[in-house]
């Protein structure tokens, strides 16, 4: 490809339908603004690790180690909700923690996504019965985009969940 001459490269529609023209010394990108936004969002998910219980070790700490290496997915681990797009809720939510969770969610900037990791975050998991403090699922408190089942899910499962979330981001219109 000769970059000195202007060239029009059309990417396949599945890749966000972006028209790209490369001119000497400058770049020009044509496309729907929403697609572009979603495309960049999808590739730079900054997540907040909201580890509550056992799942946090297995699914969040292991995920950052050399063996699983979440950074490959183009994201950064942030520890504050104000800088993150995705909240990974890993663990058991109790009534005492519920308000705080909602508060954290409200601090996140739009568009925000939530992933429920593990049985507890989905519906209370093993603590569904006979437990007087456990909230039966984070979706009782905040909207959840992706559910990753398991007790705890393997780190690979969380990676798959991230990939699913990326598809969801792409499929979403700019303004909803």
């Amino acid at each position: 490809m000769d970059l000195t001459k202007g060239q029009l490269i059309q990417q396949p529609a599945s890749k966000a339908g972006i028209l790209q023209e490369q001119a000497p010394g400058a770049g020009l990108i044509l496309g729907k603004a929403g697609d572009l936004l979603n495309w960049s969002r999808k590739n730079s998910i900054w997540w907040m690790a909201f580890g509550l219980a056992c799942c946090a070790i297995e699914s969040l700490m292991c995920l950052n180690t050399a063996r699983y290496d979440m950074d490959r997915h183009g994201g950064l681990l942030r520890n504050t909700p104000r800088l993150s797009d995705l909240m990974l809720v890993a663990g058991t939510l109790t009534h005492k923690m519920a308000d705080i969770t909602q508060h954290l969610y409200e601090q996140m900037p739009e568009p925000r996504y939530v992933m429920a990791i593990g049985g507890c975050a989905i519906n209370g998991g093993p603590f569904y019965y006979d437990s007087y403090t456990v909230v039966r699922g984070v979706d009782k408190i905040i909207p959840v985009d992706v559910y990753v089942p398991g007790c705890p899910p393997r780190p690979e499962a969380v990676m798959y969940g991230i990939e699913q979330l990326k598809e969801k981001i792409i499929a979403r219109g700019m303004i909803e």
Partner: protein, 184 residues
Amino acid sequence: MSDEINVNDNNIEDLPAKGMIVQEKGLGYTLTVDRKDLFKTATGLKEAGFDLFLFVSGVDYPNHIKLVYRIYSTKRANRMAFVVKTEVPKRDPVVDSLVPLWSAANWHEREAYDLFGVEFKGHPDLRRIFMPEDWVGHPLRKDYSDGHMLVSDSDTQAKPKLSVVDSQTDDGDEDAGDEGKSEE
């Protein structure tokens, strides 16, 4: 276990006559005291070298709550553990706090207060520890129920199988099945 324990220690003989040291199966040396004598007994134990307070726990019975303390000695030559039991009636669940003797009792007593509603007289900071401050009721009591709690119906399933248990021939169990394979 703590087999070679000498009970003929002076400090233990000093203990109130109401309390009797017995060796309970599964628990080791146990002392059941009246709640009025608890603090005195505990002081005696502390002086006798019992320096590590391990836990206090409540057990809910229909009319009373039994408190079980476990105290350990790292100083005595024959390192021994001691279980002290006392009972408080449900109408008036008050007992002396042991925080002045062992600081470790602090959170354990708060836990017993939170989950069983036992009040510890002389505790410096008796508040709920696990549940939110405004929670109603003491959840580990047998009669506790609230709107949040879904009680599993496994109660009704498991009880009738008592007869099956006694026969000891049931091997339809998953674990027993696994086991059979792995052994042979």
